[in-house]
Symmetry: C2
Subunit: 290 residues, 2 copies
């Protein structure tokens, strides 16, 4: 029997370990650090087997899935680079790809690292909230390095299929990081910025769905998002700067009571959104969760 | 039999006319302007009776509900100020309250205007999308003027109850406009600003739920939102300015790789959001829709 080692059974790792059980002829082993996660993972049968000793599992693991935060993944690759099984496939799940692809250069030849980013999540974290159906109909982004073998890419697609991802999107780490700065990181900057307003606690009764939706992701893990933001600083900074500029243009038009400019800006943006809605409705039925 | 006249059968007016049917001993009459709305409203039985001639209905209407855009409401009050039935109750549904309350000063004594804002909606408009259940468990904000009678306020509460609003929140027009600038208008400025980015059409496959949620309301009606923004310019401008400042602070920390500041800012904002989530979960089961 072959072995998949999932390192870290948080929301994503726990959900992956659940989703992957029964995949081909693989045993799914989950590696944890705390007794409390061990107990919860065991109670929920999050993996075929759960262990504290990831180092002992590495030499026999055909697939290693790194589900820590970015700094944890980078440190893990460095620390264990000579323990991986020759010919094995390692993939990760974190939200920045250039930095982890660079870190993976420390790996010996024959150990294949493919950067991955499942576009799934929840506004709550931990094994308590993990579920095997988390990835259903979401995007699975992969950023293979130049040395990625066709066999490993094929294996990765079969795993994605087994987990019921809606599609697999292959791109470069740089393109991933640019796009994610826009579609995900910027949304988190906005959400926390809105929640920093003095009125947050006095606006009860006045919130509509738009407020709830926009601020949903503000309940984030500060340590992890500090890493994600700083590891993608150039791309994110560009996106934030463009948003600042655009918001400032709206403010200027509003303050000047410039209805013509305001109406033209709103027409432009809303017609773009309506067009995207139409394209997406035609295009596919993939419903990203996070 | 008494009469409720709903002026304008768009998304909100159409949904109110549907929801109010059967309320006490009132006939619900819907006033429309176009043949196409007439036909659709008739086919869906949106009201007990539908008419093109709102002016003829006014002298016999005990309750008049104005469901046009803000400029339409203000113009209607001015134009028909001497046609309303003495002792009647007029209320409106638009998203700014100071401007309509001021406009209502043109009404003769004994005609009672109460500003209202049902915190319900959809990202699509028109009678096609109206439904009688739209208001279920949403907030109903009312801003009575100094002359509002207890009888009319009580009648309004019974109507809100019949429409299954989750709660009725009484406040001043000024406070309403301040809060709505934060919880609703700012969310719309953000959504359109995000959609104005060049990457909107190239980011397919990279959007998660946070992107979809944040941009949902960008598919707005430009003419109406130009009015809403400019009629609430001072409050909205203050909110946009505060957001600009906060977003800029994030960018500065990201560009300077200042992990300590970034982590402190993220901790502060996320803990506020987590606290609000807890309070809201304890507090009530009112789920605003827009």
């Amino acid at each position: 029997m072959k072995k998949i080692l999932v390192v870290g059974l948080g929301l994503i790792g726990g959900s992956l370990a659940m989703a992957l059980q029964g995949f081909e002829d693989y045993e799914v082993v989950g590696a944890v650090r705390s007794q409390s996660t061990y107990d919860k993972a065991a109670a929920r049968h999050a993996a075929d087997r759960i262990t504290f000793d990831h180092a002992a599992e590495l030499p026999g693991a055909d697939v290693v899935i790194l589900c820590q935060d970015p700094a944890g993944i980078i440190a893990f690759l460095q620390e264990h680079r000579n323990r991986f099984k020759p010919g094995c496939l390692i993939w990760d799940v974190c939200g920045v790809k250039t930095a982890v692809m660079e870190a993976s250069r420390c790996l010996p030849e024959g150990v294949d690292f493919i950067g991955c980013h499942p576009m799934a999540g929840k506004e709550v974290s931990g094994i308590d909230n993990a579920e095997g159906t988390l990835f259903r109909n979401t995007h699975f982004i992969v950023t293979p390095g130049p040395g990625a073998t066709p066999e490993h890419l094929d294996l990765l697609r079969r795993m994605a299929d087994w987990c019921q991802f809606g599609d697999v999107i292959e791109t470069t780490p740089e393109r991933h990081d640019e796009m994610i700065a826009y579609t995900s990181q910027l949304m988190h900057v906005i959400a926390v910025s809105v929640c920093d307003n003095d009125e947050l606690f006095s606006c009860e009764g006045f919130e509509g769905g738009s407020f709830r939706d926009c601020t949903r992701v503000a309940a984030l893990d500060p340590a992890m998002w500090t890493q994600l933001f700083t590891l993608n600083a150039p791309a994110l900074s560009k996106m934030v700067s463009e948003l600042e500029e655009r918001i400032h243009q709206y403010r200027t038009a509003i303050e000047n009571n410039d209805r013509e400019t305001l109406s033209a800006m709103l027409s432009h943006a809303s017609s773009r959104k309506k067009q995207i809605n139409l394209e997406r409705a035609r295009g596919d039925d993939v419903h990203p969760k996070f």
